[in-house]
């Protein structure tokens, strides 16, 4: 089997974002999704620090450090984009106006609980940012992560052991091995990389899996 690399994962997520969607891409890995969105379609990227219609990074030397994204990287504004303050920005999420957010995760449970903000380790300095707002606010929360930790443990779990970000908020999980739907009915497999069987995936994931209707390999 051929695991997806991060670029391929980003491209896979991008494929599920329809034209017209209002989307927030979390900091880190999800930010890469922007590189794979079709340029001939209007997809609206929101950044929680107050912009809608976020464009690509500026050319080197043309950075404006008052035009940044949530990861504090210099960005640009598309024609038709706009600025607003933080309360309006978070109203977009919490009020259910945002269609999709894409977040990274430490763990996702089969019912859609998300853990992505805090390792819970003693001495760790916690930081949450907008993760909790995004997770529960967007109409759909997608997670993008490698299925296994470096130690080979599944990050798709029966029940999260890391501190939670939100309850029952994730609908889809995009990994290097498969795409899952999670929720009240448990986890189902939407698609797998070539050469991987459901049994093998089940073994790796370590949680009960069904094939989703119309699942493909």
């Amino acid at each position: 089997m051929q695991r997806l690399n991060r670029e391929q994962m980003a491209a896979r997520v991008a494929k599920d974002i329809p034209e017209g969607a209002y989307v927030n891409l979390g900091i880190g890995l999800p930010t890469m999704v922007a590189n794979y969105l079709p340029t001939d379609k209007d997809i609206f990227l929101q950044s929680e620090n107050g912009l809608l219609g976020m464009g690509p990074a500026p050319a080197k030397g043309e950075e404006d450090w008052e035009l940044i994204n949530a990861g504090k990287q210099a960005v640009t504004l598309l024609t038709g984009g706009c600025f607003f303050h933080h309360a309006d920005s978070f109203a977009m999420m919490r009020g259910g106006h945002l269609d999709i957010c894409v977040l990274g995760a430490f763990q996702v449970s089969v019912n859609g609980d998300l853990a992505n903000w805090h390792t819970g380790e003693p001495g760790a300095i916690p930081a949450v940012g907008g993760a909790m707002d995004l997770a529960i606010g967007a109409k759909q929360t997608f997670v993008m992560m490698e299925l296994l930790t470096k130690q080979g443990q599944s990050k798709l779990v029966e029940s999260c052991t890391y501190p939670l970000t939100g309850l029952a908020c994730v609908s889809r999980v995009y990994t290097d091995l498969a795409v899952f739907e999670v929720g009240a009915a448990g986890a189902s497999v939407v698609e797998m990389v070539d050469g991987l069987s459901l049994d093998e995936l089940q073994g790796l994931a370590g949680v009960p899996l069904r094939a989703a209707e119309g699942a493909r390999n």
């Binding site: 017209g20 219609g53 706009c82």
Partner: protein
């Protein structure tokens, strides 16, 4: 390409159904989306719940909607005015239900809906008839009343300029409830004096970002009902 502009007011309101809840912008006649309301009247649907600051002035806008008998319930702060005779008549005949809300609570409840809050403790109305039966709480020595968000299926608002992504600016005091209603309705329909090309509105001066607006229809002021 996403283009939220509609060909006509009629097309813009074509899926508003019987029994819908509809926020309507405007304070008095300023900011009242008369042409959208006329199109709604022409559609013939009724049993509507209307959220507006007033209960109609004179013969146009919300007053015309009430006159036509399309309104089952109105949520507003100031129904009784010298020119609110259509509401007065329906109300006295027991044909329209009134939920009277202090204006600041009305604004705050609409804003709360747009922002996804579950409820708010508001200072207004404590100890009055309008808080009767409502939960109250003392917080830091001050009394508050628990109020719940007001959301709606549709918002009909009047803005000044708009673009195909739904970005809006307003004109003077016609702004009033437009920006917060746009955030609180499932489907916001804005009539604008002018639809400008994308980028025609400076990104710093957009008042309502397009994410809160589903449809935009241009009604040139020349064609607009005189709003005196």
């Amino acid at each position: 390409m996403i283009d939220k502009s509609m060909s006509s007011a009629a097309a813009a309101v074509a899926d508003i159904r019987d029994g819908a809840s509809v926020m309507i912008g405007g304070f008095g006649t300023a900011g009242m989306p008369d042409e959208l309301i006329d199109a709604l009247i022409a559609r013939g649907v009724g049993n509507l719940t209307i959220i507006n600051n007033n209960a109609g002035n004179g013969e146009t806008g919300v007053a015309a909607l009430i006159k036509a008998g399309r309104v089952r319930k109105i949520i507003c702060s100031f129904p009784r005015q010298s020119d609110s005779h259509h509401f007065d008549a329906r109300y006295r005949a027991g044909e329209i239900e009134l939920e009277l809300v202090p204006q600041g609570n009305l604004a705050a409840r609409i804003q709360a809906a747009g922002a996804g809050l579950g409820a708010i403790f508001t200072p207004t109305g404590y100890g009055t008839l309008l808080a009767e039966g409502k939960e109250t709480r003392e917080i830091d020595g001050k009394q508050y009343v628990l109020e719940h968000p007001i959301q709606a299926d549709f918002a009909l608002i009047k803005a000044h300029r708009g673009d195909r992504w739904g970005n809006l600016t307003y004109r003077k005091t016609a702004r009033n409830f437009g920006p917060i209603m746009a955030m609180a309705a499932k489907c916001t329909i804005a009539q604008v004096a002018q639809i400008v090309p994308l980028g025609g509105i400076d990104p710093e001066i957009v008042v309502t970002p397009g994410i809160f607006v589903q449809r935009v229809v241009e009604i040139a002021p020349a064609n607009a009902t005189a709003s005196a």
